[in-house]
Symmetry: C2
Subunit: 367 residues, 2 copies
DNA sequence: AAACGGATAGCAACCGTATTCTGTCCGAGT
DNA sequence: ACTCGGACAGAATACGGTTGCTATCCGTTT
């Protein structure tokens, strides 16, 4: 009776076709125990004699066995996976949030799926459908949207569907769709951030401030505009004078084009810019430089997001920092521990932002 | 009798606990057909009467049924998922590759998992183990490594293990571990790119060129150094004069510190820099600016990777562009269609790079 | 000495789908 | 009228694990 030694034998008896991966049955056979015993020896949740456990472990190593996650998920109905849906993984904003999700997921022994929606709500719904099939632990939807009744209904529906599938819907950086829904919401201070940013500029003596970038009905834009308006109003200024709020895009090109056109058309009738993000700011700075306008001597500029690029612009860009990583981490943490009394009550949180001071803002010149 | 209309009834008969998600059985019961018929009506691979199909589809909609991906994977042994392992999802280099992977995965109706290794080979192996449990379609390992016999053995082992699990190992941006292994390799021209870059600088009259950044034994560094050496040698210059090759780091800070120290310690004894990547270049440019050295008037600088940041530096950075997205796409495409005769023979490809000309390189000043 | 109970291990019943194998019905061909 | 084959639907089984229940062995307790 051979095979007393540890020689590795192929899992399949017959040698005809392609070798299959080893199953729990192969392990059981090799260790000379039942399938149930193998399962228990590996799970560690059930008493198994040390000698038996050793034999099983030996067989596992010999056969390079790993459990079949699908078979396991089938009985347990948990798949140890977190999914993130974002508009574009290559964007620094989203990839940093994904980074946070990954950190926490990894810490909680979960894998992470990443799906790109390209900003298309229909595709988003379609992807959630696919993820529902996966019985993922949580689905994190990232990024601003247009807040309409239709949006709220859509999210409410997804929340309920995911809930009955045992998954948790997490909205990250977008508003809550309503009360009493099985949903986790992790936001960051857009209104407050813009308020602080505008106040900071006004503290430096600026009165003629441009709000540059953003797309109209999007909640993120609306919230920031709200903060901007409140800040100006608190100093008895109006944000709604013509030509002060320049939304309509959020790309580098938009920042460049808009400021360039403004400089060609008008007097230099502003002393500061609050930009949608650092990229828009970069575009604006390029246009200003080309026009010979000194930054920050003549015009101060404040970015948003505090991206990598901020410190390499000339001058280095002062920017509103968003806790990207913490957003991602919180999303996962709150979703997974939603039963835990410590966090059960905080299924809707709002993280703060802060200004990182560099060199692109200076006291306004006297009028 | 009963329920002739389309009234929605809960999937579970008893109403006690939390509602479960609908299963194929629920659908079958509601449509008044067998489970097998539902499966077939939905797969479309088998003749089903139109009336029956309609009833099934109706039931599916009423119950918000989606198949259980795990159950399906269990019979089919395919999970419709691609996994990417990279060092850090927040880095632009990796996130752009992930972007390409996502594009192709999405086009092939696959989901994408993203795992972060933080550059730790052990963690990489551990993650592959987890992914083997998932019977993923392909596992894409991204990023340079140290090419040792031990590395090759490790990869060979993973390749075989994944192969018997029906998955494909893809190495992206790292060398092939050897012949006759079930592995797909997608590289990009490091040696060639550095050769072209150095040649471009020399075409502009530069003779004293610094190679700035990279970590010693890493294959990517070695390949680029090789290209750099070959280029210089082709013009009868030696790359190995002291102080010409400055490796030891690949961060912005490294670029800044190294150039700053050099300028403090030595004469300005170079006219051009070939940087490891755009970030290192940005750091170097900051150090040069602080020292009052004009770029590109006095020193030209060439970046690598052509990241977003390149166009916003002052001056805009000329850089070697790597086909990040195409790397990711090819990785997935080749892995999934490896049986297809059209690509079966090209399981090891090398994509080219090119120089994107902006404003950071100028003719060298006459000596 | 008999009964008891803790420590282990095996049997078998699921988990939700896909698929093979049968079986029925019905129209068409002879 | 009878047979034959195609179209369709159902029963049964396989996929790879997990887990409740049962069975055995043996040292203890009364």
């Amino acid at each position: 009776m051979g095979n007393r030694d540890g020689a590795v034998t192929p899992p399949s008896a017959e040698d005809g076709g392609t070798p299959r991966a080893a199953t729990i049955r192969d392990v059981a056979a090799r260790a000379g125990v039942s399938v149930a015993t193998v399962s228990r020896a590996l799970s560690g949740q059930y008493p198994v004699a040390n000698a038996t456990r050793a034999r099983v472990q030996r067989a596992v190593r010999d056969l390079d066995y790993v459990v079949n996650a699908h078979a396991r998920a089938l009985t347990g109905s948990k798949s140890k996976t977190i999914a993130v849906l974002l508009s574009d993984i290559a964007s620094p904003f989203y990839s940093r949030i994904a980074h946070g999700v990954e950190q926490q997921a990894s810490a909680e022994k979960r894998l992470m799926m990443v799906c790109a929606t390209h900003g298309d709500p229909e595709r988003e719904v379609g992807l959630v459908e696919m993820l529902r099939e996966q019985s993922v632990d949580a689905v994190v939807l990232v990024g601003g949207i247009v807040d309409t009744p239709e949006y709220r209904e859509r999210m409410a529906r997804l929340a309920r569907l995911l809930d009955t599938a045992g998954s948790r819907l997490v909205l990250c950086g977008r508003p809550s769709p309503g009360e009493d829904l099985p949903v986790t919401v992790v936001e960051y201070e857009n209104s407050g951030g813009a308020f602080a940013a505008a106040s900071y500029l006004m503290d430096k003596g600026h009165r003629d401030i441009l709000f540059l970038g953003g797309v109209g009905p999007d909640t993120t834009t609306q919230d920031r505009l709200d903060g901007f308006r409140r800040a100006l109003a608190s100093r008895d200024l109006s944000a709604d004078e013509p030509g002060r709020i320049l939304t309509g895009g959020n790309s580098r090109q938009f920042g460049y084009d808009t400021i360039r056109a403004r400089l060609l058309r008008e007097e230099l009738d502003f002393t500061a810019i609050l930009a949608w993000d650092d990229l828009v700011a970069a575009g604006a700075m390029t246009a200003l430089r080309e026009a010979g306008v000194d930054v920050p001597g003549r015009v101060s500029i404040l970015g948003y997001n505090d991206e990598q690029i901020a410190q390499d612009l000339v001058p280095p860009l002062t920017s509103v920092s968003i806790p990207h990583t913490e957003l991602g981490r919180s999303a996962v943490r709150l979703a997974l521990h939603r039963e835990d009394p410590a966090v059960a009550s905080s299924q809707h949180i709002t993280l703060g932002t802060h200004i990182v001071v560099r060199g692109s803002v200076r006291e306004a010149a006297r009028r």
